[in-house]
Amino acid sequence: MTIRRVGKGCGEKELFLTKAVLIIFWFTATFFSASTPIVLAQSSEASSCVTCHSDIWEEVKESIHGRQNISCHNCHGGDPTAKDKESAKGPNTGYIGIPDKKKIAETCGACHANVEVMNFYGVPTDQLARYKTSTHGKKLFLEANTKVAVCSDCHGYHDVLAITDPNSSVYPLNVPKTCNHCHGSEALMKPYGLPTDIFETYKKSVHGIALFEKKDISAATCVSCHGSHGAVPPGVKEISSACGKCHVNEKKYFLESMHAKPMAAGRFSECISCHGNHGVERASNDLYRTTCIKCHEKGSSEEKAGETIWQVFHQSGEKLKAAESSVKQASIEGIFVEEETGSLEEAKTNVIVMAPLQHSLSVERITELAAKFSEVADKITTQIHQKREALKWRKTALIPIWVFILAMAAALWVKYKRLKTERKKNQPNKTNREGEK
């Protein structure tokens, strides 16, 4: 119709526009038809499985798969178009019933390891490959150990949710509990000699507190260090990459320290040697007094270096506290402390920089930075002291001011009184003189 009208003499511009619209429509239509997943071809509502398993369908319906119309037969096989139970689960239908663990991994992988299918959703496809490298995967595929975790143990099966859904068992807030299902079970962990109190330890750690109490989903959970699909316990060398993923500067300075060499040789487990692992607490200066002596002898130069660093941090901490309270107190007293507040921020920045720098364990560098901080902190305290002194001086100045004022007022008053008395004395004389006249 449009083309006919164009042919009848419409402008060239209109012809060009019509062609452009048709081309865009064609590309859009072909693009979506080509990339739409094959599984969408079968509507779950039309599946005959639902006739008997309506309760299960209720769970599936709300899951991420249900919403994408991925139906029962995609995992369990069978013929969803068959009208009766027997023909639906018939021998030629590929019906597998409840899949075993290995089958589960393969079934999930059928789609999740298929780039063509998953590309549409923008989801990576290396989970199965990674899983096969994990301790769980190796045990399942190589040792046929069916007690290990497979996809459905962590993600659920009929009610799988997106990992970004707070109700998902693998949402960051829920990951530790999900892992603890198995790793908290003595019966399951005993054959491997693994501890079962990790969850309780983690809960009290700085990461656990951040996750559970502050609901900070960026806090490290089990998978942050151990990985998820490719879960392996990190070896000595991998710990730096595990902790260093978040603690970038600490890692950088640690690699400059004298401990980097033994770590590379596998003789020193960097972060956890001092900080611990699952129960890692907020690092305190006291670590220098408690952990150095685990490897170094008391009285050794290394232990003394640790003590020096402790001293530097302790003094800096005390100075920062003093400067902070000095600024706060001065502002309560009504002294202008804007400049000092700015300097305090500068001082705090130095202290913040000192925290990762200490991992270099370089007494020289730490002391240098502490000296910079100390200079700023001293400046703050001195300035506030001077301001307070100036206020005191103002008050003291009131004494000579009042002495002068009272002296002047008294002098004038005395003069006034004298004049008044003189006037009184003169008054009758004057009257007499006027009378005489």
Binding site: G334, W402, I405, M408, L412, W413, L419, K430
Partner: protein, 395 residues
């Protein structure tokens, strides 16, 4: 040197002719009833001069723009040499000036000095008092801090409630819909250019009238005896010495207050954050409290008739007696007015706050009525209670 200077002037001006009136004014005898309270007028003048001088010093660094006003006042208070003292003396001077001018007016009222023939002196005096209040109102905004900003917002809002012209007056005062840079500009101009000159000329007229008509005696109207030369107290040096004594003490008080109880600068004005329970300066508290008890229009009318009564007072009180004990009606009205100012001011000061009196905690509502806070009940803040009380009863 002195002689040569005198000679120089004498060759150019008729010094003898000039000397006469000056000597006359200097030695003019003041009536016998002249008291210490009669120094208050000169003290008002002294404070005005002090305000002008400290004001000029503040102007060296002050910048009347939204972005710089607060910072420049902070600079004056922290960086400039003795700037803190000038600012404090200016701020305290303003408060003391209001007190002294008011006391001067009260003395005039008590001694009946406003009566014939000095009615105009009184009228100009009332104008001076009102101008001092406007000085306070305009100057309060200039540091551009939170309290200043919101007090001005509320103050100009009150003007907006005046029938017919209200909205126009509000916009005229603010220089726009809201208090902002334009308001700061015009308040600045009014405070440092217009008001000082207007005040200067009115002070001049007021003083000329005082000098021409002389200080009132306590004699009834019509039977005033002129103080002859040689009688009474000479203006110079006797009365000037007295003024000197009061001047030094006032100066001492001014400096002491500036040092011991300095005015805070507070936080910079933030049009997006309204502080809780904004109150005007103490001298506007009685007016602020009165407005609360009446619907907007009636409140403004009640507040407005105060100054009108003051201005018209010499015309309303035509009795000839000046002695306070012989003017029972005038004095009763005066005392009642003074008491109501004190009570309303106190209620305004305490309203919307929690206070401890005689060991018990009281929640004082918006109307200044104290409510005993029971020990176990969690009372709602007074502001909300007031809102509840304010709500009209359901018929």
């Amino acid at each position: 040197m002195k002689h040569r200077l005198k000679q120089w002037f004498a060759e150019r001006f008729d010094l003898e002719q000039l000397k006469g009136p000056v000597q006359k004014q200097l030695h003019k005898p003041l009536p016998k009833n002249i008291s210490w309270a009669h120094t208050l007028g000169s003290m008002s003048l002294f404070l005005f001069v002090s305000q002008v001088l400290t004001g000029i010093l503040l102007l060296i660094y002050y910048r009347p723009t939204v972005n710089e006003a607060f910072e420049s006042v902070k600079f004056i208070m922290t960086k400039s040499y003795m700037g803190w003292l000038y600012r404090q003396i200016h701020a305290w001077g303003a408060n003391l000036m209001l007190i002294v001018v008011f006391l001067h007016m009260l003395r005039t009222f008590i001694t009946g000095s406003y009566k014939k023939p000095r009615e105009l002196t009184w009228v100009f005096g009332v104008f001076l008092f009102l101008l001092t209040l406007v000085f306070g109102f305009t100057g309060y905004l200039l540091p551009w801090n939170q309290l200043a900003y919101w007090a001005t917002t509320v103050g100009t809002e009150v003007a907006g409630a005046i029938p017919v012209l209200g909205e126009w007056i509000k916009t005229f005062l603010r220089g726009g819909f809201n208090v902002g840079g334009e308001t700061l500009s015009r308040f600045f101009v009014v405070h440092v250019i217009i008001l000082p000159w207007v005040l200067f000329f009115i002070v001049l007229i007021h003083l000329v009238l005082v000098r021409i008509q002389g200080i009132a005696t306590m004699d009834p109207v019509g039977s005033e005896k002129e103080t002859k030369p040689g009688e009474g107290t000479p203006f110079f040096p006797n009365h000037v010495l007295k003024e000197g004594v009061v001047f030094f003490i006032l100066l001492g008080i001014l400096i002491t207050l500036s040092i011991l109880t300095p005015f805070d600068l507070g936080e910079k004005a933030d049009p997006l954050t309204t502080p809780l329970a904004i109150k005007p300066e103490w001298y506007f508290l009685p007016m602020y409290q009165v407005i609360k008890y009446f619907p907007k229009l009636v409140g403004i009318f009640v507040v407005g008739i105060g100054p009108l009564f003051l201005l018209a007072w010499p015309l309303l009180d035509k009795s000839s007696n000046r002695h306070p004990l012989h003017r029972p009606i005038s004095m009763t009205i005066g005392i009642l007015a003074l008491l109501s100012l004190l009570i309303l001011g106190t209620m305004g000061y305490f309203s919307e706050s929690k206070r401890h009196f005689f060991g018990k905690e009281y929640d004082i509502d918006i109307y200044g009525i104290p409510h005993l806070v029971s020990s176990n009940a969690n009372r709602r803040p007074s502001l909300f209670e007031a809102e509840k009380n304010k709500a009209p009863a359901v018929p």
